[in-house]
């Protein structure tokens, strides 16, 4: 929490926002002491700015500067109070409903949704019209029209927190409900509460000014909204008396802007993803020794591959070299974080922008690190394709399975739409998926089916290298077996090479011809499968072989302690 606070303070926008707000707070608190009576007529109506009246006078001859300064007090005061009220209401209702669940939650969420779809301003007017004017009326009306937004946010957050383990643990331990809410739930929503408070204050000031502009304010009081009401009523617009409404509006805008800046800063602190650097192609530093491709060269050749992320000293992959021959199944095994997936991604140039690649990568004679732009795009999928672990999320959810084949084939200029569709059916049949599913949506398929679709997609252009990044990890053992068998069968028939990446060494030994063992970015052992199983040279390999994966979770911890 303290580091978040520091991060917010370190944000330039937050500083600007806070300074602006501080300035207005001082103005609202002490300004009225210096500007005299804002309500009194002091000069000729609508006189333009002069030395006597720095911002001119209103249609009633009042001093605009005085009106603007005095208006700040009530407007900001009501804004803050309503912001607090709405947030408080939202927290109580949202957290209460979300935590209670059941009928209470149903009733509360219907009520919230009803209030959400009823437009706020007309509702505020209809209710406000029956109440006596004054700050209390504004407070009631604005809170009634605004609480639902807040309640909705807090209810959703409570629901997700309630499902978390630590809340379940507290419930099992028999802690009283109020304690769980106070200790486990509310502290975890602190930044959300802060964000909501900023948001509702912006709303409260804006809506308040709007209602007063309509004439629903206390017309005898001096606030920013009534200033604007009188400006428009005195037809300042038609006479071009800009000074009657520009200063006030500017103040409203500046306060709103300052609050918006604060909420942006808060957003990025709580959601760092918004701040991260853009993803483009990775930075490539190819080693400066051009080696011409020779006829006898392996299909894949990796030389001294080093990958480093910007801002981190330690490379994720450290001087790794290996070859894959045509038609070979090559395995890379290692724990998560060992750098095995990074190698697979580097081979396909899929690393994020802040990754630096050093070394040499060749696939089927092409210098992968030298490819850029259109050449890179054309190269992709043709010689090297990939199947990701996450079949669930690797397909575009809004287009059909067939369309994802069609666009792939079209991107590489292969055939008409009809031909591409026919090819998709054929490819699906090849991996054992009913061709009729070509028109299905991804969400209609099971995990195993989707992974088969991913495999079929990878074979669409008959690549010479297939990178499989934990292709069966998310699946149950039976489905895993079926897919692997199909894969090996296809590989034998079509003769493509496979780079099989997994943490599951025993599984790997059943399919791969050669295996490399990765640890902390280093290739610690590289041997034919049979030799690796019979006489593993590295202690780490022995460990992986003997214990993985049927290791009870307790023993897994001990594994990290060993050399």
């Amino acid at each position: 929490m303290r580091s978040r606070f520091a991060a917010i303070l370190g944000d330039r926008r937050a500083v600007v926002g806070a300074l602006l707000l501080g300035g207005f707070a001082v103005l609202a608190l002490f300004g009225p002491l210096f500007v005299g009576d804002a309500g009194a007529a002091v000069d000729v109506p609508l006189s333009p700015p002069s030395w006597r009246h720095l911002l001119g006078t209103t249609g009633q001859g009042q001093d605009v500067l005085a009106q603007t300064v005095v208006g700040a007090r009530l407007t900001l005061g009501i804004g803050l109070v309503v912001g607090l009220l709405v947030t408080l209401f939202g927290v109580i209702l949202g957290v209460g409903a979300g935590y209670a669940g059941g009928l209470i939650d149903d009733a509360a969420s219907v009520t919230t949704n009803v209030f959400l779809v009823i437009p706020g301003l007309p509702l505020a007017i209809v209710i406000g019209a029956y109440l006596p004017p004054g700050p209390v009326r504004l407070g009631i009306v604005l809170t009634l029209a605004g609480w639902a937004w807040c309640a909705r946010v807090f209810r959703a957050e409570t629901l997700s927190l309630r499902a978390k383990d630590f809340v379940a643990a507290a419930r099992l331990a028999g802690e009283p409900h109020w304690r769980i809410i106070a200790v486990e739930i509310l502290p975890n929503m602190a930044s959300l509460v802060a964000a909501s408070f900023i948001g509702t204050t912006i709303y409260a000031i804006g809506a308040q000014v709007g209602l007063e502009f309509l004439g629903l304010g206390d017309l005898g009081a001096v606030t920013w909204g009534t200033n604007l009401y009188w400006a428009s009523n005195d037809s300042a617009l038609l006479t071009g008396a800009w000074w009657t409404f520009v200063p006030t509006g500017l103040c409203v805008a500046l306060v709103g802007f300052a609050l918006t800046l604060l909420s942006f800063a808060l957003d990025e602190v709580t959601n760092p993803r918004l701040r991260r650097r853009p993803r483009r192609g990775p930075v490539v530093r190819a080693t400066s020794r051009p080696t011409p491709p020779s006829a006898t060269e392996a299909l894949v050749s990796v030389r001294e591959l080093t990958v480093r992320y910007a801002g981190s000293e330690l490379p994720v992959v450290d001087h790794v070299s290996f070859d894959i021959s045509a038609g070979e199944i090559f395995g890379l095994a290692g724990e998560s974080g060992s750098g095995k997936s990074t190698i697979g991604h580097a081979l396909l140039r899929l690393l994020p922008a802040d990754a630096e690649i050093d070394g040499e990568l060749r696939v089927a004679g092409a210098d992968v690190t030298a490819l850029e732009g259109e050449a890179l795009r054309r190269w992709r999928w043709r010689d090297a394709a990939v199947v990701f672990q996450s079949a669930m999320s690797a397909l575009n959810p809004v287009i059909t399975v067939g369309e994802q084949f069609v666009d792939t084939l079209a991107a590489h200029g292969q055939g008409s739409r009809a031909a591409a569709r026919a090819r998709a059916v054929e490819l699906l049949a090849m991996v054992g998926v009913d061709g009729r599913l070509v028109d299905a949506w991804p969400h209609q398929l099971s995990g195993g089916m989707r992974q088969r679709v991913g495999l079929a997609l990878a074979l669409a252009l008959e690549p010479r290298l297939l990178v499989l990044d934990e292709p069966t990890t998310a699946l149950d053992v039976v489905v895993q077996r079926e897919i692997l068998e199909r894969l090996v069968e296809l590989q034998a028939k079509r003769g493509f090479a496979i780079l099989f990446i997994t943490h599951d060494l025993p599984l790997l030994t059943s399919v791969a011809t050669r295996i490399g063992i990765l640890r902390d970015g280093h290739l610690v052992e590289l041997a034919p499968t049979e030799q690796l199983c019979r006489a593993p040279r590295h202690a780490y390999t022995r460990l992986l072989l003997s214990s993985f994966p049927r290791l009870p979770p307790v023993a897994a911890k001990r594994l990290q302690v060993l050399p």
């Binding site: 779809v117 912006i202 709007g210 629903l216 617009l237 993803r273 992709r380 959810p397």
Partner: protein
């Protein structure tokens, strides 16, 4: 279908709640405004008309339940009572023309700003750190913090009063007779341009930021990575893979912000003396015309509910996952 039906049920409840609010409010509030209103009309109206007005406001004789039924009956016949501000025109008639102007102005402005904002947001996310991403969001955030109607006042001052590029208000030149002639339509367009532009500028930032942030999060998704690996053209990845998916939450956001944006546009109408619902609303408030106020509230709410329903249908059409459960 189930999704759509569930939404419909919600809108039905919301509609019922707004109608009932119109019945309950005058009873709950201090000062008995309805009696005051009727007192103001006494003498101006025939006894029969006065009774009809009482019924429409829900103050018929008999038990509360009976009054409620009478109130509904009048409502379903389109009888919302007589307007005081536009005496003695029935509220339904007063509102009718205003609705058209508001729908045309706010509707077109909203569509334009949503499309543009979404497009800009997608581009900003795609070229993160580019000029579009670094210049527009803070500028639009500043504009978004400005009350719409004040922006309208500024626009009117600069482009209407000083530069004289646009007329100073109203929906068409008052000396003209409304017709479908090209010159009249052009005149209407000229009058709508400035208010519509103000609305577009004021709301653009909301859509743009929403789209940008969803899309930024989405660009890390596996199916985007796979799209790159497949060698798809970047434009296709941006539009068909990233933007198309990021659009979904943005459409939901559009539905939720409708009421809010509409409220802003009502205030903008007042600045331009645009003869829409906002302008009527101000007349109702200033004349304490409760019947007109309630009629406006009902109509605006129903319009927003209908628009929300359209958004839901669009959402179902856009997202195969909701379609499947249908």
């Amino acid at each position: 279908m189930r999704y759509v039906l569930r939404r419909l049920a919600l809108y039905a409840v919301a509609a019922w709640a707004s109608v009932t609010l119109g019945f309950v409010l005058p009873r709950l509030m201090p000062g008995d405004p309805a009696t005051m209103l009727l007192a103001r009309l006494r003498g101006k109206l025939s006894p029969a008309a006065l009774t009809a007005m009482r019924d429409a406001l829900g103050f018929a004789d008999g038990s509360i339940l009976r009054q409620y039924v009478t109130y509904w009956r009048h409502l379903l016949h389109g009888d919302l009572g007589l307007s005081v501000a536009y005496f003695p025109v029935p509220v339904g008639e007063v509102i009718g023309t205003g609705l058209l102007w508001t729908l045309a102005l706010a509707g077109s402005a909203l569509l334009v700003s949503f499309s543009l904002g979404t497009l800009f947001g997608a581009l900003a996310a795609w070229r993160r750190g580019g000029w579009l991403d670094s210049v527009l969001p803070p500028a639009l955030a500043l504009l978004g913090a400005v009350p719409y109607f004040w922006l309208a006042m500024l626009a009117l001052l600069v482009f209407g009063h000083v530069l004289r590029w646009f007329p100073l208000g109203h929906a068409y030149s008052l000396e003209r007779e409304p017709s479908w002639s090209p010159s009249f339509i052009l005149d209407v367009a000229r009058h709508a341009a400035l208010p519509a532009l103000t609305l577009v500028v004021a709301t653009l930032g909301t859509w743009m930021l929403g789209m940008r942030n969803t899309m930024v999060a989405l660009l890390d998704a596996d199916f985007i990575k796979l799209a790159w690996a497949k060698g798809l053209p970047p434009r296709q990845i941006m539009l068909r893979y990233a933007a198309r998916n990021a659009l979904l939450p943005n459409v939901t956001g559009f539905g939720m912000a409708l009421g809010f944006v509409l409220s802003g546009s009502l205030l903008t109408e007042i600045v331009f003396s645009y003869p829409g619902l906002g302008y009527l609303l101000v007349q109702a408030v200033r004349n304490k015309d409760y019947a007109l106020m309630q009629g406006l509230f009902l109509l605006i709410t129903l319009a927003v509910l209908a628009a929300n329903f359209l958004v839901d249908v669009t959402y179902v059409w856009l997202d195969p996952r909701t379609r499947a459960h249908a």
